[in-house]
Symmetry: C2
């Protein structure tokens, strides 16, 4: 499975695609650009691994910059907002059931994810 090839198969931002499954967890890829919404995931930790570009994860009391090859695990229940000033590509590791906007619903919410 080649991450870069998979990333060529879609362009839409903030819409994760499922690319693999490991022990009931999903490996997802997403392209991010701009500011997402503040949200949290009540029951799931969420791992972001930056495979291209850089990403800022804002928390209520701090912010963390992630460069290519860096990752963070956002623990369940912790409010966060991903911000990509320029296009960034990430690998996500989280359950299939994780809603991208967590406890929030807006026009960016994706109820179902495609597998590529």
């Amino acid at each position: 499975m080649n991450i870069r090839n998979k990333l060529r198969q879609f362009q839409e931002y903030w819409k994760p695609y499922i690319v693999a499954e490991v022990n009931g967890q999903m490996v997802k890829l997403a392209k991010l650009k701009g500011e997402f919404i503040w949200h949290n995931h009540e029951n799931e930790d969420e791992m972001f691994l930056v495979v291209k570009g850089r990403l800022r994860i804002e928390f209520r009391n701090k912010q963390v910059w992630l460069e290519e090859g860096e990752f963070i695990v956002v623990p369940r229940g912790v409010e966060h907002r991903p911000v990509a000033e320029k296009e960034a590509h990430v690998l996500l590791f989280e359950p299939a059931s994780t809603l991208n906007t967590g406890n929030m619903q807006n026009e960016r919410t994706r109820e179902t994810l495609d597998r590529i």
Copy 2:
């Protein structure tokens, strides 16, 4: 969490270190060189993501080359043997309980893993 920095903290081959936990799954880093042993993991899928170098995963009926930025999920129960002709660095996703040598025990078996 910077993968490259973490990889500078150890040198031993075939000894995974735990670097993070996501929903009960462990994120591990390992340096590989040479041929490992044939083994399988009865109850766990195992994901290999190559972060440096290249890796060959041998199966009984085929082999798969993984270049940097590529990954594979070896399903539970499937016999496999990782081979790195030159030093390769990988990120692994699997349960904490996964024994590196799976159903086999030899001098490379690591009963407990350190967290770095």
